[in-house]
Point group: none
Chain length 225, copies 2
DNA sequence: GCGCGCGTGTCATCTGGCTGTCATCTGCGC
DNA sequence: GCGCAGATGACAGCCAGATGACACGCGCGC
């Protein structure tokens, strides 16, 4: 999730950026309205946090021009002022939410989650490992931009791997996760399905992602970026 | 714009309903959580205003079950309590915004506009996926310029698909949306209606839009432009 | 009231392809 | 080179979904 933070107070923006990155967002920071607007236009952020009182161009104006240019990214406004008229003006300028300083970090995070959830019920859930992407909401899988057709079982297996990247998964773990009933252990379903998955997600591509750990199990390897 | 107001205080709900209708919204009112949830499932509202303190089933629970069932309608929560924890819980239960009583009517209206604006790029008139178009206002459907006659159920089903393009919809999600009462699950109505819809919107045309995801559900595929 | 047409939901049947098993092959590790 | 873990291909059963037919209920016109 990429966020843009437009805030002129250095101390606040540094602290916020750190907290947001702790919450595993990628954060860009702009120190004034014009710079922020430019960044917002140039990059596809998932949400924008926008202070109202800004040098060069104030937050309300930035918000209006972004909306006028067709940008639909969720915008969360921050401000020190708190009258009903302020809020109304903020929301009517095109912001999606409004938060009054001083605010609790938890509330900012909660409002962010609410905004992001609304914008992309699916994006929140997209899993990515290397150039491989899997979307639980749409049940679509692609690698290097190329769509991949998977059966229900294959999808479940890949999802399990992608939720535990780089982690070593034993046959027992996989079996008990995908085939809830007890197997006697004499089956090689897991091997077979790993094979089928490989044929789809690895064989047509240069670098294989699914590794065998002999004697133990399998692992989905995330290449270092 | 159709709104659902879930609020047990008669005086407040009557006053709000009047004000909202002044602002030219169509408003339904429910007096407790269970009734509200049922209404919300049965009808395609544009937004829901939901009190937290409710008889029978409280607002947070209502919100969670609505979201769990796949409903994405914007929800604005109302409450008398105002601690940061309350807000965080409200937003994390799936609400999109949060307003503390007592509030100014203007602020409620502004927040509503903000919520509806977000949904409206699609709703503002016609829903379109590929060369398929559906107009909720006039109940007209056409594909590639050719008009298509649909029954009420077929229309509702298609509208549901078109409001969630590319998203995988399970039978349960579809059933609970279009057939609000509890099914025993032994029915295949969904399959039958998908079949009927396909005969109308897919079979006469070159590229099918309604895909089956075996073992999971269905998906309306938006072709890449 | 009666017949008709339409929309709706249920059921029985059919089929493609998913699924799990097995036999056989491969190659890693000793 | 040997043994075993894992890879691989083939196969048969079965099930999810597709499909066509039907029964019911409601509204409408006669």
């Amino acid at each position: 999730m990429r966020l843009l933070l437009i805030e002129d107070n250095r101390r606040l923006s540094a602290a916020l950026k750190a907290s947001l990155m702790d919450a595993s967002y990628a954060v860009d920071v702009a120190g004034d309205g014009a710079a922020g607007e430019e960044l917002a236009q140039a990059t596809a952020y998932d949400a924008i946090i926008l202070d109202i009182l800004l040098p060069v161009k104030d937050g309300l104006a930035v918000c209006r021009s972004l909306r006028a240019s067709g940008l639909t990214t969720p915008i969360l406004m921050l401000t020190a002022r708190d009258t009903v008229e302020d809020r109304v003006r903020g929301l009517d300028s095109g912001a999606d939410d409004y938060l009054v300083k001083p605010f609790a970090l938890n509330e900012l995070l909660a409002r962010l989650r609410a905004l992001l959830r609304r914008e992309s019920p699916r994006k929140c859930g997209i899993l990515a490992v290397g150039d491989l992407r899997l979307d639980p909401a749409t049940h679509l899988v692609e690698r290097a931009g190329q769509a991949i057709e998977l059966t229900a079982r294959q999808f479940a297996l890949l999802e399990y791997f992608m939720r535990h990247p780089n982690q070593l998964l034993t046959r027992e773990m996989i079996e008990s996760h995908l085939w809830s009933y007890d197997y006697e252990g004499t089956s090689n379903v897991v091997d077979v399905y790993v094979r089928r998955l490989r044929r789809q997600i690895d064989e047509p591509f240069a670098t294989p992602l699914l590794e065998t750990v002999r004697g133990v199990g399998y692992r989905l390897r995330a290449p270092h970026p």
